[in-house]
Each structure stands twice: as structure tokens, then as C-alpha cells.
Amino acid sequence: MAEFLQATIAGIGMSAVYALGALGFALIFKCSHVFNLSHGMMMMAGGFFALTFNVALGWPLWLSLIVALILGAIMGWGLQYIFIRPLLGQPLITTLMVTIAMLLIVKGLVLAGWSYRSYIPTGPIIPIETLRIGETTFSADYLSAIIIALVAFTGIMVFFRFTKQGITLRATAEDEQLAESMGVRVRAVTGLAWMLAGMAAVLGGLALGSINSINYMSGEIALKVLPVVVIGGLESIPGCIVGGLLLGLSEMYTGTYLEEFLVGFKDVMPYIIMTFMLLIKPYGIFGEVRIERV
């Protein structure tokens, strides 16, 4: 039982990372219809931004997080400005291809800047103690990842519901041309979505760093946000949470109970679940079913 609880907590902690990554991805897909394959690499870069100030320069974590969030927003906006904007109006497949270029460039730059260094934050992200209830320990890293994810999701929900920018973002996602005719500056809105996605990538990277560590391999771990969004539904923000929970928990349970028989199977588990999901319900749990007209 204790083992089960431990795996559940670790699973929820991991799902916070996945959900944060998926949030950035879903924001981009919702507002600019770009299937951003490079989002895993953006998470890795974001994690490096935050942890360089923290570990290498010795800044307090809150300060380095703020600076990293600004850098992440600049990264998101810059990638959008350089790569996506020239391809406005091109077929969706072209923008997907350009995200492959983005993936390679971000990966190359991170590898050139940090090479094979590996960073772990100096302390828990949110100053809390490790909780112990009976035999179960709630590690501070997992707890703070969960809290960050909750804050980020609440923030984004409030932003979408109550601010003017949030409402224009939703309008653009609904119908780009209609929004434009109502006076929404679609390009600026797209830029904003990418900035938010960059900030979400920083949060996700930092949470990933506190749970595992951030190094050159993190990009491939962060690639698991793609199954998360597919399971949740590409455009859905609640879907990120549900998909994240589903994958985080299943990954930790397979890690706990199947590791003796199938070494490393937990890393493939998300992809197997996703394949079945695609066969059964291709548009995800909360995804919109597209009806095509001829």
C-alpha cells in the first residue's frame, strides 16, 4: 500500500511536469495552429535558463525564475517571429516542417551553450518541507511541481476568462478571420500565445529539473508532452491536466510494478497508451472532432 501511495505521489508530481509542457503546446496549437515538435527542446532550454542563474551564478531561485520567465517569453516570441511569421498562410504541413528546423536549432544552441552539463536546483522551488505521513513521504520537489502546475493552470484559466487579451486569444483560436474583422490584431495575439508558451516551457523545464535534472537528454524526456496533448485533445487545456495525470500515473505505476520484468518499459508506456488512444478515439478526450466539408 505504501508503495502504491508513493508511486501515486510520484506520478502526480511527474504529471505536473507533463501538464506544464502540454499547456505550452496546447496554447500554441490553439492560437496559431502550429504543431510544435520543438516544444520539448523549448522546455529543455527553459530549464537551463532558470537553473543557470540558480546553480551556476548562485542567484536565489525566485529571482532566477523571474529572469528565466522573461527569457522564455522572449524565446517563444522570437521563435514565432523568425520562423512562423514568414510562413503565415502556408499549409499546416509546412509549419510542422519548420518546427523541425526550430527543434534542431534550439537543440544545437543548447548543446553549444551548456554542452553536457547537468543542473539540479539548489533547493525546492517553493520553500516547503518534505511531508511525511505514516510511511509515505511527499517529497518537496514533487509537491512544489504540483503547486507550480496548479498556479500556472489557474492563472491561465483566469487569464482566458477575465482579461481582454485572454478573450481575444480565445476569439482568434475560434475563428481567425472573424476575429480579425472584429479588430483583433491576429499577429500580436499569436506572438502573445507563443510568449505564454515560452513561459510555460520555463516552468515545465524547472519542474523537470527539480524532479530529474536538466541535461542534454531532457529534450527527449520532454518529448513525452506530445502523447499528453494527443490523449487530452490537441486544443484543450483541461485535456492537458487529464492527459498529464493519465500518463504520469501510468508511467510511475509501470515503473514501480513492472520494472523487474520489463526494464525501462515505463519510458515507452506513454507512447503505447497514445497509439491505442489514436486507434480508439483519435481526437483525444477533450478534442474537437473535425467535420470536413467538400
Partner: protein, 346 residues
């Protein structure tokens, strides 16, 4: 491309021919002869590089048929190559099958695995397909890594030198000719495949799948056929890769490799077999030159070879997508047209 002035196709055979004029025949044969003579004036080190490029070209032709002709993006090409490579290695080592039979079975095995992972394509398209092939990559690489009874895991699998009718291909040069012959055969096959009924069905599905289904094509079947063809080529390429390398290891077929392959066809030009040659040849040669040249400039730069290649390659893909989405194949056609009418451009 319109025909040059003064060239007329007077009968059906001539209209359908791949090699249309006498000049093209001469150029083609001379070109093949020139390439076949490479070992005479190029060092063994570069022959080794060219062998690798040829193997990759075969796999990239497959990807070109799947992505360029039938419009299904795949990130699983490296993993399907691994399936072919392992099938070949196991068949030739454990069961002592002759080279050609093992090679063909490698292709067919990879094709069947590809069809298995292509099954979700019946229901989904576009972005979702990228995800199923990504899943295919991770599942296949897990199997190659951890099914140690069969694949020997991360230790890798030894592959003996192939031999046909007693002639053993044991040096780089003989392997070069072997791979060249198979590459030519594969190109011939691909060139013809994409213009017969099957290939035209691929193009119809790519251009408008709803229209294609209204015209009576079974889209699901056509997509699965595209998957089979693509993975068949990947399997052949992977098997030759293992022959060239004398071994198979899971880490040869990483996700980055698959991403690079997708980049090759973007740079070469989507929807042309020639594009696979241009993209793969140019970029792999460039990568090789950089990884030899950078340490020569300053030995301290060795660690920067991989990131530099990645960034450069990403920039090239982005530039091509933004400024010349039709790729190098189109640029080559334009250059040919320019030379043909020079100096009296009309």
C-alpha cells in the same frame, strides 16, 4: 518542366519513358560509369562515407514516397531501418540465408511492421500521424534495446560480409559496387512505382483525400500501401547499412536520425525521387566535411561539431521552407532550363 524546344514525343512509348532522349541516355550511362569509378580516384575513407550516403538514400527514397508523394509525415524511418537491419542480421547469421533473400526479407519484414504501425492512419491524418510514427520509433527502439534474446540489446549484433555465388564483398570498394547496384535498382523501382496506378493513387490522396475517396480510392488501403512501400525501402536501406557497418546497434537509429531524414527530403524537394538524392547527398557530405574541417581549424572545437551541424541544418531547412519550398530538385530543374536556353533566353 516543359520539354525543350524541338523535342517532340511522337509516340506513347516515348511519352512515358523516364529517359526520353538519346542525350539523356548518354548522360545517364556516363554518370553511372563515373560514379562506379569513384573507388579508382577517391580514398577509402571517403568511399566509406559515400557507402553510408547510398544506404541512407535508399531509406530516404522510401520516406520521400510516404511523405512527398502520399503526404504522410513519418518520424519513424530510423526505427523501420532498424527493423530491416536486425532482420537481415539475424537471418544471415542465425539461419545462414543467402544475401539477396535475407535482404528482401528484411525489406518485407520492415514493410509489415510499418503497416502494423500505420494502422491508425486509417482513422487519423496529418499531425496525428506524426504521433503514431513517433510512437513506432520509441516502441521499436525499446524492443531492439531490451529484447536481448533476439537482438543482443545494446551489445549490438555482428554482421558477416555478404557474399553472392561465392564472391565475398569484404572490402569497402566491393561493398561500394554492391550498394551502388542495389541503389540503382531501388531508384528504378521507385521511379516506376510513383507513376503507375499505385503512385498516382498516393498523389491523389496527398492532394485531396476526400476527392480521392469520391473517385473510388480506398484511402485507408492506399495509405497502408504507402506505409508498406516506405518501410520496405527503409528495411533495404537498414539492411545495407548493417552490411556497410558490419554490425547493428540500437543507437545507430536514434530519433535525431529520423528527424534528419525528414529534413533531407525537405531540402531535396518534396515529391521528387531526385530530391532524395540531392538532399541526402548534399547534407550528409556537408556534415562530413564540417566534422572533419572544424577540428582541423582548432582542435578545441571538436565538442562543437554536433551542435554546429544541428544549428546549420536547422537554418538550412528553415531557409529552404521560407524561400524555396520546392527544394533543391526544383533549383536543379531551373538550372537545367537556364543552361538549355543560354545565351538566347526567351
Amino acid at each position: 518542366m516543359a520539354l525543350p524546344a524541338g523535342t517532340h514525343n511522337v509516340n506513347y512509348q516515348k511519352d512515358m519513358a523516364i529517359v526520353r532522349t538519346r542525350f539523356q541516355w548518354v548522360a545517364l550511362l556516363l554518370g553511372i560509369a563515373l560514379v562506379a569509378c569513384f573507388p579508382l580516384f577517391i580514398g577509402a575513407g571517403w568511399i566509406c562515407v559515400i557507402n553510408q550516403i547510398f544506404c541512407v538514400i535508399i531509406a530516404v527514397i522510401g520516406l520521400q514516397i510516404l511523405t512527398g508523394y502520399s503526404g504522410q509525415i513519418s518520424l519513424g524511418q530510423a526505427a523501420f531501418m532498424a527493423v530491416g537491419a536486425y532482420t537481415y542480421a539475424i537471418l544471415s547469421a542465425q539461419f545462414q540465408l543467402p544475401f539477396l533473400i535475407a535482404l528482401l526479407s528484411a525489406g518485407i519484414m520492415a514493410g509489415l511492421v510499418g503497416v502494423l504501425f500505420g494502422l491508425p492512419t486509417i482513422r487519423v491524418k496529418g499531425f496525428y500521424l506524426v504521433m503514431t510514427t513517433l510512437a513506432a520509433h520509441f516502441i521499436i527502439s525499446y524492443v531492439t534495446m531490451h529484447w536481448t534474446n533476439v537482438t543482443q540489446g545494446s551489445m549490438g549484433y555482428e554482421v558477416a560480409h555478404p557474399s553472392i555465388f561465392g564472391f565475398s564483398f569484404d572490402t569497402e570498394t566491393t561493398k561500394f559496387w554492391l550498394i551502388l547496384v542495389i541503389l540503382i535498382a531501388c531508384t528504378f523501382l521507385a521511379k516506376n512505382l510513383v507513376r503507375m496506378r499505385l503512385g498516382r493513387a498516393f498523389i491523389a490522396v496527398r492532394d485531396n483525400d476526400l476527392a480521392a475517396s469520391i473517385m473510388g480510392l480506398n484511402i485507408g488501403v492506399v495509405k497502408l500501401q504507402a506505409f508498406f512501400v516506405c518501410c520496405f525501402f527503409a528495411g533495404i536501406g537498414g539492411a545495407l547499412f548493417s552490411v556497410w557497418n558490419n554490425s547493428v546497434e540500437p543507437q545507430y537509429f536514434s530519433l535525431m536520425t529520423a528527424i534528419w531524414y525528414l529534413g533531407f527530403i525537405i531540402v531535396g524537394g518534396l515529391g521528387t525521387i531526385t530530391g532524395a538524392f540531392f538532399g541526402t547527398g548534399a547534407l550528409m557530405l556537408l556534415r562530413e566535411v564540417i566534422s572533419r574541417f572544424l577540428p582541423y581549424v582548432d582542435p578545441a572545437l571538436v565538442g562543437y561539431v554536433v551542435p554546429f551541424n544541428d544549428v546549420l541544418f536547422g537554418v538550412i531547412i528553415a531557409l529552404i521552407l521560407i524561400f524555396e519550398p520546392r527544394g533543391m530538385a526544383h533549383a536543379w530543374n531551373m538550372a537545367k532550363a537556364y543552361i538549355r536556353i543560354w545565351p538566347l533566353a526567351y
